[in-house]
Amino acid sequence: MAYSEKVIDHYNNPRNVGTLNKDSKFVGTGLVGAPECGDVMRLQIEVGEDNVITDAKFKTFGCGSAIASSSLATEWLKGKTIDEALSIDNMDIVEELALPPVKIHCSVLAEDAIKSAINDYRVKNGLEAIVLEKSHH
């Protein structure tokens, strides 16, 4: 299958690969997917004053589209407030990376990872977890 140039770029030069201290109360971690399904994403955010995301890191086990989706997500997250981050939709990722229909699940996983990281941060800081609508698979 032919990948889009943007996917290839993120795949060859992934942005923000790494690990934040998951025990810090300023850090939210989302781990989604399963090895049996062929993809696992771990996305982390560090939240500063005024609920602004100051840093984002990822590691992903998966195909090129999964890696690119999570790499792009970390780029978009930095500088956004948590509320703004919650509005990132998987279809935005599909559009930006020109993902083909069979790879839409990669973008869904990235959206799930963002929400899961935000929830982890909220719970750590005594806030209620946001009830997530089941993303459109």
């Binding site: 781990l31 062929g38 994403m41 590691k59 998966g62």
Partner: protein, 403 residues
Amino acid sequence: MKQPIYLDNNATTPLDPRVLEAMLPYFTEKFGNAASRNHAFGWVAEEGVDYAREQVAKLIGCTEKEIIFTSGATEADNLAIKGVFEMYKEKGNHIITAVTEHKAVLDTCKHLEKNGARVTYLGVKEDGLIDLAELEAAMTPETILVSIMYGNNEIGVIQPVKEIAAIAHKHGALFMTDATQAVGKIPVDVNADGIDLMAFSAHKMYGPKGVGVLYVRRKNPRVKVTAQMDGGGHERGMRSGTLNVPGIVGLGKACELCRLEMESESARLSALRDKLETTLNKMEESYVNGNTQHRLPHVANISFKYVEGEGLMMAMSDLAVSSGSACTSASLEPSYVLKSLGLSDDLAHSSIRYGLGRFTTEEEIDQAIEVTQKAVNHLRELSPLWEMFKEGIDLSKIEWAEH
């Protein structure tokens, strides 16, 4: 664009220029229909076909009359299994095969199940070989056919064909084998091996696509199959249709070259394969799939744990290889062959098949090693699973959110 290094010779092989040369006249001046008995055009074409029949027969140790030309191995598998089922239905309706067979066999069996066949699908041991005791136990008086492949396309393991044939015959059943990956690569002799029917194709042995063979035994016992296509009664009535003369001539030449070069070529390929495999197997958490004693000389199937096959292939775009991970659909089904060895889904997803061939050089193998190592290391740096493994976390204890 720079061509990637071709290491997918189990999918198909390039046409040997010597084969092409033999074929060319049969597209132009020797264009006749091999069934035209009344003029020289037909005779010349028939001569070409007859000579090819001899070349094929010599490679597998049979007589020319036992060769039925088809469009490929898939057609030969269909003709053998459906043809035996229809021809011998008075005797019984039971067929035995194995779960690691090619889809051309498995789906044909599934089709027959809808038409009254009872099919036993034998499992395989961890090394990919069937259990002979299990086969013996599965035989019944109604068993008409045992169909087990010679060499596996994904992992290259060679089944104990002789022993399987003996068990089938002891119980009065025929033995059929899909030998697509084996013929031309290792010595295959239908008499020594006790094979009654055998399917294979030209394009896996440096011949053209679109031509294959069904070997059908004529003596001890005389085997018959019911034709699956109606028409002019070519190929002793078993396969109608004007013969693909250039293809058949190419197949004949390909068989001859394989026979003459097999000994040196299989030694050369297994040395290269072993170099590739031993070096890559030294990487942490890499596993060789399938039995390494009984297997084809040119195949290596290796899983690199904690990286995903499709992502890995993308990092190895300089190599044309094949992955056990079919992550091209939302279902993300990993290889059924690897899963039947008992591999967990994640290891099956992490596997790469290297298929070496006649035109593979040592330099290419060195490059393949380097590209693979670099790709695996790159992806492991990106892999949360690798990081967790390194931290000593037991991944099987994590509750994954299946999606």
